[in-house]
Chain length 456, copies 2
């Protein structure tokens, strides 16, 4: 739908309301948006927990058989139905083939990482051998840093964001220690300005301009876990590289959420997990992106036999015959448990296409923001909601981080859980994501109505 | 059965043959051994592939519905039936609970590593907090080496065995490179003497005596993947530590195969995988052992949020509040895919007990050796089998490495596969393991008869 590119999500919503002659804040409008949603059949690919399934829902007030409102895909994606089939296939192969399952069967164990790659390439905007699945997110951060964080006396600092996900910060700190640097001296953190909630790109560029020569590595989140901010990866990458920094991105909250063009953006490396928007299950396999520019560079490595080329791997040579690019960073044989899950889950992305997903996502999120602004942020309300997330749709993904002002977020959270809504609270911030593959506009409408009328 | 401790496995076999008045080489003897096997009901816990299931079996000669002879547990253990139930439980929890599955449900995702620990502690001979499951084998080697390989100018070498598993060697080499050492200079490899097939303990002790002061780390396999040799871990560890070396063991082929007493042996660290004797599935979760003596030492670490204590993890502090011992080495949230599989598989070990498993294993392996010696290694045979594996039952686990002399091992291997036998060939060596949890004495008998009469 070419139109949708040129006008804002809010513009689209208003056009539709006008066209249908239905108020934007009405339930009918939500229904109508769902009707024309080109991805509406995708919801059926997932198991939506019922209200009665949820541990904290109040089934005296809400029908236990009705579908719950799941807005927690930024934390753990729902179960794709085809994962069940795929896992049964794996167990059948294991049962019947034992060790022969490594090369025979539905999804041969020894190559079970590969079926994940074609769709991941599309989601990441990667070229051949630039993506591999392996390990998990934090271990991949370390593996990448062993290769790409090469501090020198003059250039040893790491630039990252204030309130980075703790695991990233622990990883960065321990890597600094590994090289003998005090994190207090080797860290440069970019943060929002006073009274602002997210980081301005210009402020990052400014730090790079002023301190870039001391920075060995820039390591930021594509989408920030706490604020939901989508960074301008292309601009920041270019500015970092101009200063001679290596630029890596943590794509935990970006992958499957927003389109990525890592190759074209010339990103040096990226790391990701698969349990959020990719719906790969708790502790699902992680992965890496390595730009093809980096393939031939000589950096320290943590080698393992799975980084050896397939053809010669079982010759069991004593010197590694390293595979190309990201494939060469593998250490261990792939987990069929994790890979078969992810490969099945990614089929849904393949069939949907990230552009369609993103188009719907922008509408869903804008719709949520608009409803909150008009239905809740009124002078008469018991409390107000401040958005930590940028209101510009180009600067965010699916997630909205709602800072509750004038009420206790935890109390609101608890009551919403009783109403059968799944979300996430940290301090006074409630994080919600309407996930385009399985959330409907009605989910968003109902959530905002529950939030509006919450008993606190 | 106290008796079994004091007499040799061969002695037990002979006693039984005598008692039953049945020839040791008869099929009746195999049947009788199975009858009195205290672990015989455990076979029913596993899915044994039928002949018809196997890709290379010849169903014109062999009944496709009969159970195949699976002797490849040293490579990939068979599917424990209860894994199916456990995985269905996980999928049900994911389906119904989504993100709430982290703390609710049958095996809460966020703590799904813990159920594996009690049985692993027994199998490894470990105390509280000395064992954790995480990552996979090669990545764990690297993680341990970042902490425990601390070369200095005087002491920077690593002692390991000739023909170490390639992944271990690649890992060791790349860690040497990381510290700026040439593997040709920093490696000391112990090897079998000329015309011998496995390494003598005395030769390792000798190297330690002579070169120990230059050795930073001793890293050997508990059971050698190629020869099946079980090293005297206690003696070697003591000798290494006497020289001031750190001593770590790769337990890939030892865990679940032979009883381990890592704490009592004062082993500094160990690493393991779970897809061989533990039956945790291809690419199953790996793990580490850290001796409690090491808990308070100050070494470099690769930190991640999962190494933070559970109580404070979600406070999302910017400084890690590290968990005790092995738990503090975790980086990423555990994979429910892998952990639920392993936890279910380990139940079989819990119910069997490693001492019983080992007692049966010694009999199975001795029985196989004896049958090969008497049935195949005859002057009239078309070929001879030389054992790379020590004939002393105390110096081996389940595996026998059969060096084929006078025939093409690959041809024998292919023909055995056609007969419905699963095994493993590398060069002129066929590796077989009779796994006490699911292999019967009849399996061994039938295998040797097939081997004896093999058409080549
Ligand atoms: C002794 C040994 N070390 C390392 C490995 C590699 O294991 P992974 O692929 O799990 O890292 C194996 C695998 O069979 C092994 O037997
Ligand atoms: C941005 C970010 N980094 C790191 C992590 C830690 O991931 P893992 O436990 O897979 O290492 C997460 C998990 O939610 C995350 O969101």
């Amino acid at each position: 739908n070419g139109d949708h590119q040129s006008i804002t999500p809010q513009g689209i919503l208003e056009q539709q309301a006008e066209k249908w002659q239905v108020p934007l804040t009405s339930k009918a409008f939500a229904h109508k948006l769902d009707e024309i949603d080109p991805l509406k059949h995708m919801r059926d690919e997932f198991v939506i927990p019922t209200v009665g399934d949820l541990p904290n829902a109040d089934t005296t007030r809400f029908d236990s058989n009705s579908e719950s409102i799941y807005l927690c895909g930024h934390s753990l994606g729902l179960l794709p139905k085809r994962v069940r089939t795929a896992i049964n296939g794996w167990l059948e192969d294991w049962a019947k083939l034992g060790v022969h399952g490594h090369v025979h069967g539905r999804n041969p164990f020894a190559k079970c990482d590969y079926p994940c790659i074609p769709t991941l390439k599309k989601l990441l905007g990667a070229q051949d051998n630039e993506v591999m699945v392996m390990n998990q997110l934090t271990s991949n951060i370390h593996i990448m840093m062993i290769s790409f964080y090469r501090p020198t006396k003059e250039r040893f600092k790491i630039l990252y964001e204030e309130r980075a996900f703790p695991s990233d910060e622990y990883a960065l700190h321990s890597q600094m220690h590994l090289h003998g640097y005090d994190p207090n001296i080797a860290s440069i953190k970019v943060s929002p300005r006073k009274n602002e909630t997210y980081v301005r790109t210009e402020d990052i560029l400014d730090v790079l301009e002023k301190q870039g020569q001391s920075i060995a590595l820039l390591f930021l989140s594509g989408v920030q876990y706490y604020t939901g901010q989508l960074f301008d990866m292309e601009t920041i990458t270019r500015a970092g590289q101009k200063q001679g920094c290596v630029v890596g991105w943590d794509l935990a909250h970006a992958l499957g959420n927003v389109p990525l063009h890592l190759h074209d953006w010339n990103v040096d490396f990226g790391v990701f997990c698969s349990y959020k928007y990719l719906n790969g299950g708790a502790g699902g396999i992680g992965g890496i992106f390595i730009h093809s520019n980096q393939f031939d560079k000589d950096y320290p490595r943590l080698d393992g036999w799975w980084g050896n080329r397939y053809d010669t791997r079982f010759q069991m040579r004593s010197e590694i015959d390293r595979d190309i690019g990201a494939d060469g960073f593998r250490m261990s044989n792939p987990s069929i448990h994790q890979c078969t899950t992810l490969a099945a889950s990614l089929e849904v992305f393949k069939e949907s296409g990230i552009e369609k997903i993103r188009a719907k996502s922008k509408l869903l999120t804008q719709y949520m923001q608009y409803l909150i602004e008009t239905e809740i942020n009124q002078p008469s309300s018991k409390y107000q909601i401040k958005f930590l997330t940028p209101s510009d749709p180009e600067q965010r993904g699916a997630q909205l981080s709602l800072h509750i002002v004038g009420a206790d977020a935890k109390q609101i959270f608890n009551e919403l859980e009783r109403c059968g809504v799944s979300l996430d609270v940290r301090g006074n911030v409630i994080r919600v994501a309407a996930v385009p593959l399985y959330n409907s506009f009605l989910d968003v409408y109902q959530f905002v109505m529950l939030l509006k009328n919450v008993r606190i």
